[in-house]
């Protein structure tokens, strides 16, 4: 793998920056190079939110993601805003709960009921980011499932491990189903 560039986007409060950190952490655990960065809005809260991760086998110089090959969009606004930058051969993963209008694109699109499942199966919208992460990793193979779980468990608040493990499992499953299609 040369350099995998992933953008996780949505709105503030969805935990996308945490997701980005966990993803980069997992990559590091596998001995890869990784850079994670994020955008801060003018008020650093509310509004759009964006986390970016670059995973590579070699040193990463320029640390920003310009044309991601993977875009996760967890809000309509984010989807509309960032789709343009996605590579033509890229992968778009959208949360069908928020993104109703799937724009036209040459990328492969996976529309997943991420938030819906988090709510339905776990009763906690708050872990939608972990569900998304599981699905994304499953679909892209960015990192291994094991290291991702390690990274998740080391970064979530004490006492929420089980919840997050379940969220991750749901995510993996969601991804797998898509791949099987």
């Amino acid at each position: 793998m040369a350099q995998l560039e992933i953008r996780l986007s949505g709105f503030g409060g969805q935990g996308l920056i945490t997701a980005g950190i966990i993803l980069a952490d997992a990559a590091i655990r596998e001995g890869k190079q990784a850079v994670q960065s994020q955008s801060y809005g003018p008020e650093a809260r509310g509004g759009a939110s964006k986390a970016e991760v670059i995973i590579s086998d070699t040193a990463i110089d320029y640390p920003k993601v310009k044309e991601p090959s993977v875009l996760l969009a967890m809000s309509q606004e984010a989807c509309d805003k960032y789709l343009e930058s996605l590579r033509d051969d890229g992968i778009l993963i959208i949360d069908s709960y928020y993104v109703k209008k799937v724009p036209e694109t040459r990328a492969r699109v996976y529309s997943l009921p991420i938030t819906e499942l988090a709510r339905e199966k776990l009763g906690k919208v708050i872990v939608a980011n972990i569900v998304a992460l599981g699905a994304t990793v499953e679909i892209t193979g960015a990192v291994g499932q094991g290291t991702l779980e390690e990274a998740v468990l080391s970064r979530v608040p004490g006492g929420t491990e089980e919840l997050n493990r379940q969220a991750l499992a749901i995510g993996f499953q969601l991804g797998r189903k898509q791949l099987e299609k």
Binding site: A24, A27, Q36, S37, P42, Y62, K64
Partner: protein
């Protein structure tokens, strides 16, 4: 850091600065929150008491800088961290630290200015301020990390230089480096060289607190160690007391300047410059883009190299002068309207043509832009 495995750890530049400070032996931090440096204060608020050190949030940046100087005089390894507006406020007391020769580290995580600017956005607009922000002639050391790993190592280095030269040292991060996360391998305690201020060997009666040794630096007693000496921001002689004489000023301010100028070894990274016909000079996060651009240029057969001043102040004059004697053109990309370029132009002395590349729209300059410039001047 606790663990001793060589497993890389993911952390941000600001977090790495905290780790570096702890490894360097920090035991005092005074600060005032400001984006995008706040994580440094927050990290040390949590970590310092666990190491027996003290954290205090002062009423403002002026007080933070003052408390840091006071703590250092009492023997602490002391640091503060801030961003643009706070850096402006600290200037008077940074000058005091330079004049009274009080070692300390001042972190400025640069954000977009002037004034309140764009508080969460990156820029490299405080480079000249780091050198010239306080009034009067004074020495200044400033380091600019380009990676999270370097944010850690240069924080240690900043403490070492501060202790070695008895002077404030500025760690000039930019928001990109401060906030991005990378995997880094924190060094083991025993791998690190820790420099401590020279202690006086003379007994208190004979101690001249501002009598410099051949390296230009006077040994430094701590308050409370029985030396009972005087510290002032006025021009003073070797005893530390002011006598109101211009000749004392001449001696003192030249010594302060020269101790750094003559004994500080500029830190520069050179990359593929040996056979270069074109060079890029870039610092901090922009140097990452520049390195990529250089690699892309080389792929296209362009003989291009990179010089990255790690210590931006004192400016690495010799490296740039040598470079200008070697290359035809120098490209200076910066996230400002041209600050490093001023010094590069000066040092190039007409021998190489200097091209500026400036971006101030709160985005990191991309490798492509730099490459385009390289191609243009080729």
């Amino acid at each position: 850091m606790g663990e001793n495995e060589r497993q890389a750890v993911l952390m941000s530049g600001n977090e790495a600065c905290v780790e570096g400070a702890l490894l360097a032996g920090i035991n005092f931090f005074a600060g005032y929150p400001i984006t995008p440096s706040t994580e440094i204060a927050e990290g040390l608020a949590e970590r310092l008491p666990r190491h027996g050190g003290k954290f205090i949030q002062m009423e403002d940046e002026i007080a933070s800088m003052a408390a840091v100087v006071g703590a250092s005089l009492a023997g602490a390894k002391a640091m503060t961290a801030t961003s643009g507006p706070g850096f402006s406020l600290k200037q008077e007391n940074i000058g005091f630290a330079a004049m009274a020769e009080v070692p300390c580290v001042v972190v400025n995580v640069q954000r977009y200015g002037p004034s309140t600017g764009l508080p969460t956005s990156p820029a490299q607009g405080d480079i000249m301020q780091a050198r010239w922000g306080t009034h009067g002639d004074h020495p200044m050391i400033a380091l600019m990390p380009a990676s999270v790993q370097e944010s850690l190592t240069l924080t240690i280095e900043a403490f070492n230089l501060a202790e070695k030269f008895r002077t404030p040292v500025i760690l000039l991060l930019d928001e990109v480096v401060g906030h991005m996360r990378e995997g880094i391998v924190p060094p083991r305690k025993e791998e690190i060289m820790i420099k401590k201020r020279k202690k006086p060997t003379a007994p208190p009666e004979e101690y001249l607190p501002y009598r410099a040794e051949p390296d230009g630096v006077p040994p430094m007693a701590n308050f409370g160690d029985g030396y009972r000496f005087h510290v002032t921001g006025l021009v003073h002689d070797e005893t530390g007391f002011p006598r109101g004489r211009g000749s004392d000023g001449d001696y003192l301010v030249r010594r302060l300047t020269n101790k750094v100028k003559n004994h500080f070894v500029p830190m520069v990274e050179e990359y593929l410059t040996e056979d270069a016909e074109i060079a890029v000079v870039a610092c901090g996060s922009v140097a990452r883009s520049a390195k990529r651009a250089v690699n892309l240029g080389r792929e296209q057969g362009i003989k291009v190299g990179l010089v990255r001043p790690i210590s931006i102040w004192p400016f690495p004059e010799k490296a740039i002068k040598d470079l200008a004697g070697k290359v035809r053109a120098i490209v200076v990309p910066e996230m400002n309207l041209g600050q490093v370029a001023l010094e590069v132009e000066r040092c190039a002395c007409g021998k190489a043509v200097v091209y500026r590349l400036n971006r101030i729209d709160a985005e990191l300059i991309t490798p492509d832009e730099i490459l385009a410039k390289i191609q243009e001047v080729k």
